[in-house]
């Protein structure tokens, strides 16, 4: 086996090890026609080291946001315990076929964000998930019960609080233990419901794809959103008309409710090989249905947006300092990295900007 294949197998083993599969389970690995066969092979090889039944299905590409999957794929989901997708995220919050597979039939959905063979062998996928979990736990300790202030060079200045029981994302100890569960590998998204009072300004710099196409995903200047008591009460800038129309056409009275704030906590997350939005230099927010993030307000719509180079403070103490996650310098995290045998550079944060984010 080549050194590249050995490294990629190490990444795949990191994914499978932490999935905690149960003997006898049926696992479906989904890949598309153009997925690198070497990536599929190492995932298969890692799965084969466990007592599970593995099948691989390749399909043509489909638009994960706007289209339904091939019927053969949808049908197969009813017959397996675990689905591992290797390409684009299957939009678990948007697609009813997947919600039914998970919640009605108990499917466990694991999305692999190390989407290339090279990425699977990189320090992004090999990064110990125990360390991701420790970083998340450390950040939770910083945020718990604090008054948070989020600012960015583009003009964001927003205050909020956080209740610990609404904290989630893809970073916690990582194992299969529930039907209807979904995970991402290697993760590093840290999300919470912003508890009130939530007031200030969000300077949106990018908006990912939505069901209604945008004029542009990368905004040439920030879209300034005024937030009062959780709700967007004013907007000015590019895509303001799109957002207003989108909420009018697809939304309801709660579409403008700030329902999620998500930090990136994986220091090696970088686009396009991995999920750049999990880099601490990027923060994503969501408007609409807050119940899925532990909030009280339901909406039929969900709108996401990004800001970059954030500074986030908790009672005045920096949690993220101009895009750098302060937890990466914390002594307990450094010590754990050393105990896990990581290289000295393991906690060095790689750069990521919205302009370089390719999975919008």
């Amino acid at each position: 086996m080549s050194a590249d294949a050995e490294a990629a197998l190490r990444g795949a083993r990191n994914m499978v090890r932490n999935a905690g599969l149960i003997a006898g389970q049926s696992v479906l690995v989904h890949a598309e026609r153009d997925t690198d066969g070497r990536l599929v092979d190492v995932i298969w090889a890692a799965l084969a080291e466990h007592d599970v039944n593995v099948a691989v299905m390749r399909t043509d590409h489909w638009d994960k946001l706007r289209d339904e999957p091939p019927e053969v794929f949808r049908t197969a989901l009813a017959a397996v315990d675990v689905l591992i997708s290797t390409g684009e995220f299957l939009r678990a919050l948007d697609k009813m076929y997947l919600k039914k597979a998970m919640y009605d039939d108990g499917l466990f959905y694991l999305h692999n964000e190390a989407s290339t063979f090279e990425s699977m062998g990189s320090d992004y996928a090999i990064f110990p998930l125990e360390l991701v979990a420790a970083i998340g736990t450390y950040v939770t300790g910083q945020l718990r019960g604090s008054r948070l202030r989020l600012t960015t060079p583009a003009g964001t200045d927003l205050e909020m609080t956080v209740r610990p029981e609404t904290i989630g994302g893809y970073w916690y100890p990582y194992r299969y233990d529930a039907p209807g569960h979904k995970k991402a590998f290697p993760g590093g998204a840290y999300a919470f419901y912003p508890e009130g009072p939530v007031d200030g300004v969000l300077a949106i710099e990018a908006i990912p794809r939505h069901a209604v196409p945008l004029p542009s995903n990368h905004l040439e200047r920030p879209l300034m959103l005024t937030i009062q008591d959780h709700r967007v009460t004013g907007m000015d800038g590019p895509c303001a008309e799109w957002l207003s129309d989108y909420w009018l056409q697809r939304g309801d009275e709660n579409s403008n409710w700030l329902g999620k704030v998500a930090l990136g906590i994986h220091p090696k997350a970088r686009s396009p090989e991995g999920r750049g939005a999990c880099n601490p230099a990027i923060i994503n927010v969501g408007f609409g249905n807050s119940t899925q993030y532990g909030g009280p307000v339901f909406s039929r719509s969900w709108t996401r947006a990004y800001v970059q180079e954030p500074t986030l403070t908790a009672d005045g103490v920096p949690v993220i300092d101009r895009g750098h996650l302060c937890a990466l310098d914390a002594e307990p995290i450094r010590r754990l990295a050393e105990e896990l045998g990581c290289e000295a550079s393991a906690l060095d944060q790689v750069p990521q900007t919205l302009a370089d984010l390719t999975d919008l």
Partner: protein
């Protein structure tokens, strides 16, 4: 298990108990530990349904423990309970339509929804 008297919520708990006794139900309950605080119409929670070490138990709301990543608030709105009982609505559809409000984090309420769905299937098989 003693089922508290909470009107139509008692029928939900009874159905979940029946479902939890099936093979799929046992697996679902054993999947992980979590507290579900159940309520009707958005008012205060009426009871706690707790999955603990493979057992499902009913507790008073005074034992509510919204532990980090291990707690979900469930509200049945409108006719959601009767529509689920009559099989005209699945739990997943109810969530999609905002007729069950799940304020959830780590597991997205999957364990509860799965058990509720199993209770529908169990009810169908019993009635045949």
């Amino acid at each position: 298990m003693k089922i508290p008297e909470h009107g139509e919520l008692a029928s939900v708990v009874a159905a979940l108990c029946a479902a939890s006794a099936t093979e799929d139900g046992r697996r679902t309950v054993a999947a992980h530990d979590e507290q579900y605080e159940l309520g009707v119409g958005g008012d205060d929670g009426l009871l706690i349904l707790e999955m603990r070490q493979g057992q499902m138990i009913v507790l008073p709301v005074s034992e509510r423990a919204p532990e980090f990543c291990r707690y979900t608030r469930v509200d049945f709105l409108g006719t959601a309970i009767s529509d689920i009982a009559s099989q005209s609505l699945t739990p997943t559809e109810a969530v999609e339509e905002g007729r069950i409000l799940l304020r959830s984090r780590l597991y997205g309420g999957g364990q509860f929804l799965r058990l509720l769905r199993l209770s529908q299937r169990e009810s169908t098989s019993l009635s045949r």
